[in-house]
Symmetry: C2
Subunit: 142 residues, 2 copies
């Protein structure tokens, strides 16, 4: 059974499409860029993104998988900070399952292309703020 | 003379009050939380925030000053990622200069209180996305 905080978090994430994915460059500095999860995935502790296989983020994740995701909807006083481990997934079935036609705007080739990979972020810990409310989720206990 | 990209960045930042500040915990995992800069500061490469002197973020910055800031306004397709070095500033004159009455909501005591400090983030590099536009700013060259 998910905790009350985990349920609140999943509910907030349902409405948030974009986030910033922060990785580490090899020189130790942090590096963030906007990512979209296309609101297609019911959040269960894993967040999935498509990426170009040869992107900086793939290189940075392979060098250090400890990443964070920041979701922000300031108009609704909602913020989520999620810390986790990222992995780069090349599985064609999984890519086909998560592929959406609108992704063709961002990526040349379909889910079969080796130039396109998935990033899976397995959440370790999350914190959320929603108006005067807020909470923390420790995924090792969920 | 600021570059065209630096001018675009400063213009975008003027409308963005909140951001997520990402620091590193001592175990190496990343840690982000929302921060407000109260829209009071014309961005010139430094971003200022008030903080409680004994907060986790102060401890994390003192252990590793390499931080990032993520600004997001998905409704306007605007994102900013800023990487820089943070320092904790206790200067009372500077605190008085940047203090706003509305901060009393968040902090007990005024700018004279040693329990309240400033965090200054000196930008090293920034990247921004605004609709189909975007750019990068290297502050060592500005």
């Amino acid at each position: 059974m998910p905790s009350a905080a985990a349920k609140s978090l999943a509910k907030l994430m349902r409405d948030l499409d974009f986030c910033m994915l922060t990785t580490r460059r090899t020189d130790g500095t942090l590096h963030a860029r906007p990512m979209s999860n296309n609101r297609e995935v019911e959040f269960d502790g894993d967040v999935w993104f498509f990426t170009a296989s040869d992107s900086n983020k793939v290189r940075e994740i392979e060098a250090d998988p400890r990443v964070s995701l920041s979701f922000a909807d300031p108009g609704n006083w909602t913020w989520i900070s999620l810390t986790g481990r990222a992995s780069v997934i090349h599985d064609e079935d999984r890519k086909r399952e998560l592929w959406l036609a609108e992704l063709e705007r961002w990526f040349d080739g379909g889910p079969e292309s080796p130039q396109i990979a998935l990033i899976r972020i397995s959440a370790g810990h999350a914190e959320y703020w929603n108006g005067e409310e807020g909470g923390e989720v420790d995924f090792s206990r969920e």
